[in-house]
């Protein structure tokens, strides 16, 4: 087929020469003769082709034919096709994958009725801007009936031991106010939602109501229908299954619930007042639904009016209380939105860079095919037909690229979901949904239109050029085009790549600093597990103490275990307990008392985690209920509350107690030791002031085991933990048994995920920009063979030629990089405030990132120019001159 085309060219060129010769013989000036001949060959027939097209009915058949022709054309140029489609697929694939995540996390409506009317509510302290606290149950009851809200629901999620159906296990249980399902506008798939009275304990013949997830129902009872009406035991209390939710249902969305119960179990307590009876205990999250016609600001204003009345009625607990509302979706997306949008911007840049490269490929092909266009025009093809053929080829490349990109995106989505850090709500829903497919196809078409445009321009140029010249030169050394805008595009590529790279280096630098953080404890060889002792079977605080004392004794005797302790919470374990702090020797009014984190620990805790004891003593077995109440504090506590004073011997009072005090104030504790700081809630958050109290003096029924295994004996230690707990009480499930190192790692997971993705996109941007620069330089060197030959012939040294090419390429790159840094700085200024929450100890104008990005890019640009420069320098002048 190619053979045939070359024949046609030669034949037509021959014909032209004869025509011209004949006209010249007839006395016409040679250039004019040539022009007339070319005119004869081309123009006269063009309108006939157009007429032919019109007759073929709306050109649909012509399009189909051109698509077939374009497919054949791509098939015949496999190198071009593969490079163009792959480049485009990378760009579209990355964009589609990130967009599918954005769609799932930020855009898709929440799976509840009229989700845009749902709000998330929290309490705040009007003295501290941005403070965010859960509701206390009594506050919630006071606040929930304002006219602008059609309802408010409160919830808290806990791990509870499930017994009575199969093996004991810990399940994720959401305790929700009875109105919750109605407020969300959801119904169980089987059975019914909670009834209004079911927030009271024992409303169903002494049992409480429970609604199961479809997953738990089928795991424990075989089918949803079989679960309905069954009894089960949670935390030692009896429940009655009144409903089963549809498969996949979740509320709240930032957790994975196995079942839902009402507030009822939290209304009972064997020791002291129940959680629901303490106005100062803030532990419930809340959602609300706007009444028809009401707006969120109105609702917030009404809530704060109620809050002001509450502050008067309960000055000790509710002074400075304010209530805030945000759309429910915004609450879930607040943390992830800036990073997702940053990633979307980065992949957008990658796609633009990729499109420039594809446009370059298409253009180079168009240049090679200029004579083919001329030939087709000579054979009577109209300009429109040739343009249509180009458009078809662009369309085909775009569609194939989009399809390959979709395949890549499907793979990337799976990887994304697997690698995703916990806490990115709904990221696991990322898939190629219809809107995502539309976006991918749209990107493909847009790209196609973009890069079909360049050869079209080139074609029009060719038309203005001398047709005969285009034919006679056989297309070989077609006149070099000025390439000015092509160079501009390469600079633009480097500009985008520089911005993406600067952002990626910023995140990487921040990640490096985060990973270098010393957490204040040693997680190596340490295992943690969560144990919940059923309240109903261990009603008294002493029962809890006895259980854990026995367990720790057994564990300490194991050869595989170096030390065993229990604590609540553990560093980076996801829980925090705050208490109100007071100084018995010079008391503060209740509203002025600061709050402080507290941990209850058994004596071996500091040794097990290798937290250094800096002053005083650690807890011992003698620090029991009834003996003097003691506390240990950390350095941050001393810095904040006792600066420049001796901490040992200072007396503090905390609002937390497990034992009833018959109306007496909680006894004061004496500080007996000072320990090192530990990162508690996140690796990137500074170590908070901490008070530690002995577990024997404030017993908890739910504790984390902290077991330091002997090196290499981690598996044996884990088995020992399971068997020791099972041996003591088979109904106490061992939950979350995992290495502590995994928790430390999990704490940096979001940062690693973000920087990994951004680094990946930056690498892609770099690679594509380098390829783009290489292509332009290679083409430029090839077109200037003659010029370079002349220079060498006139005595230019090889080094000078290399330098000339390098300088040209680097200038192009440097212009782009400079603009890119400006762009990055503008972006930092614009989105910096929202992104900086994701950075650790790193400014958005990080000098390291802003210095490293241009250096890296320049090095890359030099690398991309090196090969063309070498080729230019090694050109044989005689040969390059003869070629022309």
């Amino acid at each position: 087929m190619r053979m045939r085309e070359r024949d046609m060219e030669r034949e037509l060129a021959e014909h032209l020469a004869r025509e011209a010769a004949e006209r010249a013989a007839a006395g016409i000036e040679p250039r004019e003769a040539e022009r007339q001949a070319a005119l004869l060959l081309g123009s006269a027939e063009r309108f006939k082709e157009e007429a032919r097209e019109q007759r073929r009915g709306a050109g649909l058949a012509a399009w189909a034919r051109d698509l077939r022709y374009a497919a054949r054309g791509l098939w015949r140029a496999p190198g071009f096709a593969a490079a163009a489609i792959l480049t485009l697929a990378l760009g579209i694939g990355a964009n589609t994958a990130v967009f599918s995540a954005v769609e799932a996390v930020l855009i898709a409506p929440l799976p509840y009725a009229q989700p845009q009317r749902l709000l998330y509510a929290w309490e705040g302290d009007s003295r501290r801007a941005g403070s965010q606290e859960p509701f206390s149950y009594l506050d919630f009851l006071d606040l929930r009936q304002v006219p602008a809200l059609s309802g408010m629901a409160a919830y808290v999620v806990n791990d509870l031991p499930l017994t009575g159906v199969g093996a004991a296990a810990s399940v994720r249980a959401a305790a929700v106010s009875a109105s919750t399902f109605g407020l969300l506008g959801v119904q169980p798939a089987l059975g019914r939602a909670f009834l209004a009275g079911e927030d009271r304990p024992g409303s169903l013949d002494g049992a409480d109501a429970a609604i199961l997830s479809a997953e738990l129902a089928s795991a424990r009872f075989g089918t949803s229908a079989a679960a309905l009406g069954k009894r089960l035991t949670l935390d030692g209390r009896p429940y009655f299954v009144v409903g089963v939710m549809p498969a996949g249902f979740q509320f709240p969305l930032d957790d994975h619930e196995d079942l839902w119960v009402t507030i009822a179990p939290l209304q009972v307590s064997t020791t002291g007042p129940a959680m629901t009876a303490q106005r100062g205990a803030h532990w419930l999250q809340a959602v609300a639904r706007l009444a028809p016609g009401a707006s969120a600001p109105t609702a917030a204003a009404q809530l704060n009016q109620v809050a002001a009345r509450m502050a008067q009625a309960h000055p000790d607990s509710d002074s400075y209380l304010d209530v805030n509302l945000v759309p429910m979706l915004a609450n879930y997306t607040a943390a992830t939105q800036p990073v997702l949008l940053l990633l979307l911007g980065a992949v957008g840049c990658v796609l633009l860079i990729a499109c420039v490269n594809v446009a370059g490929l298409v253009l180079a092909r168009a240049l090679r095919r200029r004579h083919e266009f001329a030939l087709r025009a000579a054979l009577g093809a109209s300009r429109r037909a040739v343009l249509r053929q180009l458009a078809c080829e662009g369309l085909l490349v775009g569609l194939l690229g989009a399809m390959a990109g979709l395949a890549l995106a499907a793979l990337a989505d799976r990887a994304l979901v697997r690698l995703a850090p916990p806490g990115v709500v709904r990221l696991d829903q990322a898939r190629l949904s219809p809107p995502v497919l539309l976006v991918a196809l749209g990107l493909g078409l847009l790209a196609a239109v973009g890069f079909a445009f360049f050869p079209a321009l080139e074609l029009l140029r060719a038309e203005r050029c001398h047709l005969a010249a285009a034919l006679q030169s056989g297309g070989r050394g077609a006149r070099p085009s000025r390439q000015g805008w092509r160079r501009g595009l390469v600079s633009a590529q480097f500009c985008l790549a520089a911005a993406v790279l600067a952002a990626a280096l910023l995140l990487l630098h921040s990640l490096g600093r985060l990973l270098a953080v010393a957490p204040g404890f040693s997680p190596d060889h340490v295992l943690t597990a969560t144990l919940n002792v059923p309240d109903a079977r261990y009603p008294q605080p002493d029962d809890d103490v006895r259980f854990f004392d026995h367990l720790l004794d057994r564990l300490s005797a194991q050869a595989s275990i170096a030390s065993a302790a229990a604590a609540m919470p553990t560093p980076l374990g996801g829980n925090n307990i705050s208490v109100v702090l007071d100084w018995p020797d010079h008391p503060l009014p209740p509203a002025e008392q600061p709050s402080c984190r507290i941990g209850v620990v058994t004596p071996a805790y500091f040794a097990a985690l290798e937290i250094p004891l800096l002053a005083g003593r650690a807890f011992t077995a003698r620090d029991r209920h009834g003996s003097p109440e003691v506390a240990i504090v950390n350095q941050a506590f001393v810095r904040k509350f006792l600066p420049g004073r001796a901490a040992l011997g200072v007396r503090i009072r905390t609002g937390l107690s497990s034992y009833p005090h018959d109306g007496q104030p909680v006894p004061a504790r004496e500080i007996v030791g000072v320990v090192g700081d530990t990162r508690q809630s996140a690796l990137g958050a500074p170590a908070p002031p901490m008070i530690y109290a002995p577990q024997d003096q404030i017993p908890f029924d739910g504790l984390n085991l902290v077991v330091r295994a002997r090196a290499g004996a981690e598996a044996a230690a884990a088995a020992a933990v399971r068997s020791a707990v099972h041996g003591l009480d088979a109904d106490v499930p061992v939950f979350n048994l995992r290495p502590m190192a995994a928790q430390v790692e999990a704490s940096s997971a979001p940062a690693r995920f973000d920087s990994l993705l951004l680094a990946l996109f930056a690498a892609l941007a770099l690679l594509l920009a380098a390829v783009g620069l290489y292509a332009v330089m290679a083409q430029s060197v090839a077109q200037r063979r003659r010029e370079i030959g002349v220079r060498v012939a006139l005595g230019a040294r090889r080094g000078e030629i290399t330098g000339m090419v390098l300088r040209e390429g680097l200038l192009m790159a440097a212009a782009g990089i400079g603009a890119g840094l400006v762009l990055a700085a503008l972006l930092a200024r614009w989105i910096g405030p929202s992104v900086s929450a994701n950075l650790y100890a790193t400014s958005v104008y990080d000098p390291v990132a802003f210095a490293a990005a241009p250096l890296l890019l320049l090095a890359l640009a030099a690398l991309a120019c090196a090969l063309p420069a070498r080729r230019a320098a090694s050109a044989d002048p005689v040969q390059s001159l003869r070629l022309e």
Partner: protein, 121 residues
């Protein structure tokens, strides 16, 4: 008079004219029946034989040549031309000769018929 092989075309005045299909094919086949010729010479020969009445547009000639070649009625081959340059010479194949016979008969019948009408009227 301009010969083209298209089945219809818009003339500059926007009117669509029908011309008999195959006229150009017949002319080419007939020309090649005498001796192998290259494209330019075919156009020339038609022009000469028609005493400068028929002018073949190159934009029609080459597509027609390629079509006839595809139908295996003529065969192209590169040879040195009278000017010493390489040119593609077309010659009639055996099936081309058969086709020429058929087209000539058809043409004779048609022109006789037209003559009858035109002369009588």
């Amino acid at each position: 008079m301009t010969i083209c092989n298209c089945r219809s075309y818009s003339d500059p005045h926007g009117q669509t004219q029908r011309s008999r299909p195959g006229t150009l094919d017949l002319l080419i086949l007939r020309t090649l029946a005498l001796e192998p010729l290259h494209g330019w010479a075919i156009a020339r020969r038609i022009q000469q034989l028609s005493r400068e009445v028929l002018q073949v547009q190159q934009g029609s000639l080459y597509p027609a040549l390629y079509r006839l070649e595809r139908k295996k009625w003529i065969k192209g081959a590169w040879r040195e031309s009278e000017t010493g340059r390489q040119a593609r010479f077309y010659s009639l194949t055996a099936s081309g000769r058969g086709q020429l016979e058929r087209e000539q008969q058809q043409w004779r019948r048609l022109s006789e018929a037209i003559n009858c009408v035109v002369e009588e009227a």
